[in-house]
């Protein structure tokens, strides 16, 4: 593993076994021998249709699922005191209407990861900083609000604040804008870009919208039926894609009629 890589995924296969009560068992191949590396400080886009295994990949990196075969390795990162440790990974989920607890205030939601990580000794100032950096200003107004009083865009900002509060090295954003209006979605994308530039957080941006991916990503991987069918820098994907699925995605983003896909 060279110095630039943060996560390397080698030959990962994930099979889901389905055991029906009457029908016997069947299995679904969600990821088929995937290899991918995420570089430090980049925004890597993963594009694919529903059921192509994008979210499974995210869950494997997060450690929520174990791969059936293959390995996922993390590079060591060094902090200011030059101690080496494994990178911290956080996640932003697709649906901001469901991913925030209705029973907790915004302050509690954002403080929870700190609480889990540092115990009672966490610094409350960090929560305020996180909310400030996602643009929920004035912070005092939002700290004691409940999620149901916020709009979709504001909720997604809370989800992002929750992800950045523990200062992770990498954030996995699983379709963060697909539930939002396009005018609000652009603001969220700009926020992700800003986080990437200012704090150097690595992003894994999962989406089915190729236009959004080309807007913020450095590199793009296209997934189809559990395989990565194309991988390359953004420019290369747009101008000289080789797979027909990428082509159909580009065509639908340009507003052309898709004939045979």
């Amino acid at each position: 593993m060279n110095g630039k890589e943060l996560v390397r995924i080698t030959d990962v296969t994930k099979v889901f076994k389905k055991t029906g009560f009457f029908r016997g068992s069947s299995s679904v191949l969600a990821l088929d021998n995937i290899s991918l590396s995420v570089k430090k400080g980049e925004i890597l886009g993963i594009i694919g249709e529903s059921g192509s295994g994008k979210t499974t990949l995210a869950k494997l990196i997060l450690g929520l699922l174990k791969p059936t075969s293959g390995s996922i390795s993390f590079a060591d990162v060094r902090n200011h005191e030059h101690e080496s440790r494994k990178p911290a990974v956080q996640v932003i989920f697709q649906d901001p209407y469901d991913s925030l607890s209705h029973m907790m205030t915004i302050g509690e939601i954002v403080a929870e990861p700190c609480f889990i990580k540092y115990g009672r000794s966490y610094v409350p100032e960090k929560v305020r900083q996180a909310l400030e950096s996602v643009g929920l200003i004035p912070v005092d107004e939002y700290l004691h609000k409940y999620p149901h009083t916020l709009s979709g865009g504001q909720r997604q900002r809370v989800a992002i604040a929750r992800a950045i509060v523990t200062q992770p090295d990498m954030i996995i954003a699983d379709e963060p804008i697909s539930m939002l209006d396009c005018s609000i979605g652009v603001d969220i994308l700009n926020l992700i870009l800003e986080m990437n530039e200012k704090s150097g957080i690595t992003f894994l941006f999962i989406t089915h919208d190729i236009a959004a991916a080309t807007y913020i990503c450095n590199n793009i991987a296209v997934m189809k039926a559990g395989k990565i069918v194309e991988y390359g820098p953004k420019k290369q994907i747009i101008s000289q894609c080789s797979h027909e699925y990428t082509d159909s995605l580009l065509a639908s983003a340009r507003g052309e009629v898709i004939k045979n896909y």
Binding site: G51, G152, D181, S183, I210, A211, T214, I238
Partner: protein, 316 residues
């Protein structure tokens, strides 16, 4: 001839928190064979408009204005008569089509149920009609015996479209038909909607927040903001010469395919609260062009020949 003509429709809902002013003096008309788009952000009242036409939201509702469907005033009809119109004359594709059908009934039975409640068709004819409609949306008629959850997202959406078309209604209202679908599936659904309208000679009202996707099929477009129509025009007018600042911002917040990094700006600020009454323009706080007159005077209403609800219409 106008299939649907809405004039001066105002809808308020009374709740514990106060009166929500959801629709304010909305004028909208749909001609025969026309596809009309209604675009607005979340909470602007698009779905309320559809629900009010279908009379599905009568709880706590205070409504005034007129809704004429095929020269019949819907506002004065009783519930039973509206129920007859709904489904047979006005088809509806609801917003959350992913879970709009009963998961415990086979798809075919739900189609039969719709036909039975409106006509006395013999069984053989019903089966033929269902098979024909399913084939039209390119779903294998043999799959009518499956359950709804056995279909994929795009297929479910197509089933809902087939169900709304079943009795060849004069008007179809499709509420966010492409939201929550993949990009490639979206364009297929859009093409399907267009083909269905051509084949069945119906009219259609498409509701969406995605101006760019929906505009491909629309003949005319209404832009809605905070319960008001702020701009209306043909597709070319809206896409090439938007005149209201909100429409201009909506269009410029689109992400296009680009290899070079270009900064795209969204629309800053939040949509206004429905609880407050605004004396001036409701877009005031998010508008670049806002000036004193916007604060004190209401902009012109989008009625009759007025196409843009902005004080500065015609200037710049």
């Amino acid at each position: 001839m106008q299939v649907l003509k809405i004039q001066g429709l105002t809808v308020d809902f009374s709740t514990k928190a106060g009166i929500h002013h959801v629709l304010k003096n909305v004028d909208l008309s749909i001609g025969k064979g026309e596809i009309v788009g209604l675009i607005g952000e979340s909470g602007s009242g698009k779905s309320t408009l559809a629900m009010t036409v279908l009379d599905l939201n009568s709880r706590n509702r205070i409504v005034s204005g007129s809704i004429r469907f095929m020269d019949e005033e819907l506002m004065t009809l009783d519930k039973e008569k509206i129920r007859k119109i709904r489904g047979s004359h006005i088809g509806f594709v609801p917003q959350s089509s992913m879970n709009a059908l009963n998961p415990l009934m086979r798809v075919k039975r739900q189609f039969v149920e719709t036909i039975k409640s409106h006509t006395d068709m013999p069984l053989q004819q019903m089966v033929e009609l269902i098979a024909r409609t399913l084939a039209m949306v390119s779903i294998d008629p043999a799959r009518g015996d499956s359950f709804f959850y056995e279909f994929s997202g795009g297929q479910r959406q197509r089933l809902m479209i087939a169900l709304s078309m079943l009795l060849s209604p004069e008007l179809i209202i499709a509420d966010e038909p492409t939201t929550a679908l993949d990009a490639t599936v979206q364009s297929k659904i859009i093409d399907l909607l267009k083909n269905m309208v051509l084949q069945k000679h119906t009219s259609m009202l498409v509701i969406s927040h995605d101006l760019h996707t929906i505009s491909r099929v629309c003949d005319r477009i209404y832009i809605m903001y905070a319960g008001k129509i702020v701009e209306t025009g043909t597709r070319e007018e809206i896409l090439t010469r938007p005149r209201h600042p909100y429409t201009q911002k909506l269009l410029s917040s689109r992400l296009s395919l680009m290899a070079e990094p270009v900064k795209v700006n969204g629309i800053p600020g939040n949509p206004p609260s429905v609880l407050k009454e605004y004396f001036g323009c409701s877009f005031l706080e998010r508008c670049d062009r806002a000036s004193l007159v916007c604060k004190t005077e209401k902009p012109p209403e989008c009625i009759g020949n007025v196409k843009v609800a902005c004080h500065f219409e015609g200037e710049s």
